[in-house]
């Protein structure tokens, strides 16, 4: 009888343990399956199954609550169900309806939510456990700090990406100010550690120190993110993704939950790797992104570029591409802003029907987060085997008839190779200037995100097609259709 009782009390623990183990495995295996577009949908499905198993099993914690929390159990269970229902249905609805161009903001919000959840768990633990061990307390505080910074920072990133905060906020001595906020936060953390470890009455009550600690940590996230420019947001989102993962992993240690520890740390490492890749694609260090103000670099001397801008009618450019053998298209964020992806693919299909070899070349920092341009092209129906990344296609420009640049600027600027004084010097670029002919579709004669003159546009082999990307593509489609050429057999799809 005794052993049966023991078995029954251990049963919930064992089920939770087994469910979390299954979840940890499914997360790893699911992410592993994301290494190819073919297996990726099943990968996220498996990870989702892991999440459901872990969440359902976590209700069994109700069998094992402390004596003090037992009277609240029915209320707490109700609160869990309500919070799960509201949180997941709102986020699900938002995720299903958001436009693909707004994806970076959406990911920033979800990431902020995760950081906030880790911070809130840390807060509960700090208030709940009056006598934690030194290690537990320090790990809780670290997770709280990182989670809170990730939450408020992600919200600022969201506001910036959504266009609510238009200008980066910068003032003199900002870095010193941020450093002081960080030191103050750490000081409160240190004070909390000492106050809980010693028996003497602390100068400041522990609950108010906890509040101040969180207030400072949240403020740090805001102040850290405000000065960073919109073009650097891919790196910032990536950093905060890693931060949230790390915070979740640390709180997993506090709660003695290995599934949280593993999932959090896997994401932490993944976020770090993606951050480094993004920073490399911009030829800047991560520290440089966070601590220096990109726009501050002195402006280029005028008159350094020879040649002139040669405007061309959209229809003529379209017809020239129809008679070319090969075309490589370089899409940039300007294409997405004009919502021109659909028309672009329609134009591409026309070219393909005429036997033209068409490829897409995507720069790592095209878009507002890593890989966003690939998603936008996929959304328009472009098959992914036509989409090539920088390293895979860069040598092919020299043997290509036409390079069509749409809404991209800095990523095709040869100054990154040749001009040491340029702020983008050293950034990997797409070698469009090597193509026999270059067409650049652009709204006007304005400069790119970095505010640098682009020598490519002044080259002898380059013609400028001015106008809104979608309107230009419609004219190109009309002009090619107007030729009335028959489709080449075997090429049409």
């Amino acid at each position: 009888m005794d052993s049966l009782h023991h078995f029954l009390t251990m049963l919930p623990q064992s089920v939770i343990g087994a469910a979390d183990l299954a979840a940890a495995f499914l997360f790893l295996y699911g992410l592993h399956r994301m290494s190819s577009p073919v297996t990726a949908p099943s990968g996220i499905f498996l990870a989702g199954a892991g999440m459901i198993v872990a969440v359902l099993a976590s209700f069994l914690y109700g069998f094992d609550v402390s004596a003090a929390a037992r009277p609240n159990l029915s209320v707490n269970l109700g609160l869990v169900v309500i919070a799960l229902a509201i949180g997941s249905s709102l986020a699900w609805w938002a995720g299903r309806t958001v436009a693909m161009t707004a994806m970076p903001q959406m990911v920033a919000i979800y990431n902020g939510l995760g950081g906030g959840a880790a911070g809130a768990i840390a807060a509960v633990e700090l208030f709940h456990n009056k006598t934690p061990g030194m290690t537990t307390l320090i790990v809780t505080l670290c997770g709280a700090l990182i989670g809170a910074v990730s939450m408020s920072g992600s919200l600022i990133a969201w506001a910036k990406l959504d266009g609510m905060i238009k200008q980066p906020l910068r003032f003199k001595g900002q870095q010193l100010f941020n450093a002081l906020v960080l030191i103050a936060t750490l000081a409160f953390g240190g004070f909390l550690v000492m106050a809980t470890q010693s028996s003497a009455t602390p100068v400041l009550s522990i609950p108010s120190s906890i509040y101040l600690f969180f207030a400072l940590a949240l403020a740090l996230g805001v102040f850290m993110t405000l000065p960073i420019g919109g073009a650097d947001m891919p790196v910032v989102i990536s950093i905060f993704n890693a931060f949230t993962g790390l915070a979740v992993g640390l709180e997993g240690f506090v709660l003695q939950n290995p599934a949280l520890m593993i999932a959090g740390m896997v994401v932490g490492a993944a976020g770090l790797l993606l951050t480094l890749l993004m920073a490399k694609a911009m030829n800047r260090s991560v520290a440089n992104v966070i601590f220096t103000n990109f726009g501050d670099i002195k402006k280029q001397k005028p008159g350094a570029i020879k040649g002139s801008l040669k405007p061309m009618a959209p229809g003529d450019a379209g017809i020239a591409m129809r008679y070319a053998k090969s075309v490589i298209i370089v899409p940039g964020y300007g294409l997405a802003v004009a919502q021109g992806q659909g028309k672009l693919y329609e134009f591409v299909k026309l070219l393909q029907a005429g036997g033209v070899d068409v490829k897409f070349a995507v720069h790592p920092v095209a878009g507002r987060m890593p890989g966003q341009m690939d998603v936008l092209l996929a959304e328009a129906g472009v098959p992914y085997d036509l989409i090539f990344q920088l390293d895979d296609i860069n040598e092919q420009f020299a043997t290509t008839d036409v390079a069509l640049v749409i809404g991209a600027n800095d990523v095709v600027n040869p100054a990154a190779r040749s001009d040491k004084s340029s702020p983008i010097f050293g950034m990997p670029i797409l070698n469009t200037y090597q193509a026999k002919k270059v067409f650049v579709v652009k709204r006007g004669e304005g400069k790119g995100y970095a505010g640098i003159v682009n020598a490519l546009f002044y080259g002898d082999n380059c013609d400028m097609v001015y106008g809104d990307a979608q309107a230009v593509l419609i004219k190109m489609i009309e002009a090619v259709r107007g030729l009335g050429l028959p489709a080449v057999a075997g090429k049409s799809k």
């Binding site: 979840a23 577009p37 869990v80 919070a83 949180g87 939510l113 208030f127 949280l260 959090g264 992914y384």
Partner: protein, 120 residues
């Protein structure tokens, strides 16, 4: 039969190290074309924090703990559900030109296609 576990000291650090290494290796193999769904997918994975939130809320004693725990579950659930919704939506968009649901690697699909075109 005791499944109660205690992860402390070096065991915790070993676990963190192995998980970080696994994350680094697994993510390093994901092609650049999938970096956005990868980011939202890894974002979804840290939504597991909702489980910690449920634990904290079920064990809440005071009203303050209940409020904080409620937000932990609310935010965690939002993180997990939203991350899944957008990742699944994006991954469904990636198609190849030869076979919409091809099981072959895209490199082989492309080269066969290119040869056919030359023959005509």
């Amino acid at each position: 039969m005791d499944f109660q576990i205690s992860i402390s000291g070096f065991v915790a650090i070993y676990l963190f190290m192995l998980a970080a290494f696994a994350g680094w290796v697994i993510i390093g193999r994901v092609p650049a074309i999938l970096h956005t769904p990868l980011m939202s997918g890894s974002n979804f994975v840290h939504g597991i924090v909702v489980v910690g939130g449920i634990y904290a809320l079920l064990n809440a004693v005071t009203m303050q703990e209940q409020v904080l725990g409620f937000f932990a579950v609310l935010f965690g659930a939002g993180n997990a559900a939203g991350g899944y919704a957008v990742t699944d939506r994006m991954l469904a968009m990636f198609q190849t030109s030869a076979h919409p649901i091809a099981h072959a690697k895209h490199g082989t699909v492309k080269s066969i296609h290119a040869k056919k075109a030359k023959a005509h």
